[in-house]
Symmetry: C2
Subunit: 283 residues, 2 copies
């Protein structure tokens, strides 16, 4: 698939590329951003995928997340996908901030009408990486880590846990860790999957970690204690932590005093998450 | 004057406060942001004022400029003023992106109808600092530096050059350095001052540096060679550099390859500008 470059922006010694391509899985033109660090001239470089939260495009974190700061120093490319298909003209897809456009939840919908293109799971795990590695041979397809925020934190955790070995590491900011038990997740999974609770569990990080057989885990999660969505029970990190503990696994959940759900939190701790990924990408 | 706190946001170990107050000079409620670094508990801390460019509010740089990153480490507060009065209901004030609302140009207008409140020079040099230092006694009114972007770079340079000794240091990103000779400046000065060319020169950095008598200068300026406004002759840093050289003064203008006019540039070099300010704030 060919990739169209709509902008090339100098950033932290590297280049932030704004790109788009005609995606087969999502049946529409998909925009995404790719940060190439200055080390791109020095051999194959690893990739950190950042999955965004509800309402976001690839641009929000590119502008406000501060990942380029550390990625530039470490020599890591950062891939910022969009959060849903766009413009499929499905009735109602633009009506809610937490379902449809901007809210693909990194699943392949099985229920009509969203099964006509809402395939963000296949898009992010297969089509987008293939497109990117074909177009940018200087990137190393064998070294990919994943992270994300909120809905994107859910995406990062579930994609990692469903695919042992596919990603070198995972981390998350304020992730939705138990969507089958929170309003955001219940609305999304009912809309994308219908009533099949087994299907819901296949995309729930807390359920997935109970069945993890991929060996020791080192998952870094930051949650702000001032995060209103945490307080409202949308994130439920305690459930994830308990499930991990019951499975004999440890996860490093840092409850950051007063931090909220915004990009101010990501910017503050982005360096730590890039460092976490670097530990495994350069192991 | 009392200050209203509308939000307190954890950021880089400190607090970003969203504030507002009823301003006398600009005859309206003015919003601004203030970053307090974690060292605020450890005695008086110095302040860096960041002046924003056309169309911006205090929020743009707070979210995308990443001054908090270095300011947090150094122990410097960052004050982000708005760029104009708001809601004065002057006919036409919202019609242009480069004049009126969001485009106060850090001058006191002398021409009607804008002389009814477009007094951003007095606001930024006098009223806002007085308000802030009264409300936050942990800040050190004797140690203030100034920086800014584009129109705000013009503001930083002219406020510094008009007030020897008031600011400990100055730097700028892509500043409008010779407004009397560029379209943005000519439009703004005609609208705020009328035809009096002497008045125009009083707010032109290139004219002001010719008459500077404050001793040696150490001005840091970053301009991107990919900046379309630089290419269009809106910034004219070469004029400023030549005037400085003719006056026997040196300025450090760094032409950054490929960087554009956006916050991606500020984010990349913000650490350097905070470092530049710190050298003088902690001298």
């Amino acid at each position: 698939m060919s990739v169209t470059t709509t902008a090339t922006i100098a950033s932290f010694g590297g280049k932030l590329l704004k790109l788009s391509h005609a995606a087969t899985t999502t049946k529409c033109e998909m925009k995404f951003n790719l940060f190439l660090p200055p080390q791109t001239q020095q051999g194959k470089i690893p990739v950190l995928i950042y999955l965004s939260g509800l309402t976001c495009t690839a641009d929000n974190c590119s502008e406000k997340g501060f990942f380029q700061h550390a990625a530039s120093k470490k020599g890591i490319a950062v891939l910022y996908p969009d959060t849903s298909p766009r413009g499929l003209n499905i009735a109602g897809e633009d009506d809610s901030y937490d379902f449809g456009s901007g809210a693909g939840f990194y699943v392949d919908a099985t229920k009509a009408p969203y099964n006509a293109g809402y395939n963000m799971y296949s898009y992010v795990t297969e089509e987008l990486p293939k497109t990117v590695f074909d177009a940018f041979p200087q990137l190393d397809a064998s070294r990919v880590s994943i992270t994300g925020h909120s809905m994107g934190g859910h995406g990062a955790l579930t994609l990692f846990l469903r695919n042992p070995g596919k990603y070198k590491s995972v981390s998350a900011f304020a992730p939705i860790t138990n969507p089958i038990n929170c309003p955001w997740g219940q609305k999304a999974f009912a809309g994308y999957f219908g009533d099949d609770q087994n299907k819901w569990k296949e995309h729930d990080a807390t359920e997935l970690i109970k069945k993890w057989s991929g060996g020791a885990l080192d998952i870094l999660i930051d949650v702000g204690t001032g995060d209103n969505f945490y307080k409202q029970g949308q994130l439920l990190p305690e459930n994830f932590e308990a499930a991990a503990r019951d499975a004999g696994l440890s996860v490093n959940i840092r409850y950051q005093p007063d931090y909220d759900h915004s990009y101010y939190t990501m910017a503050t701790f982005a360096d730590d998450h890039v460092e976490h990924a670097a530990k495994y990408l350069f192991a």
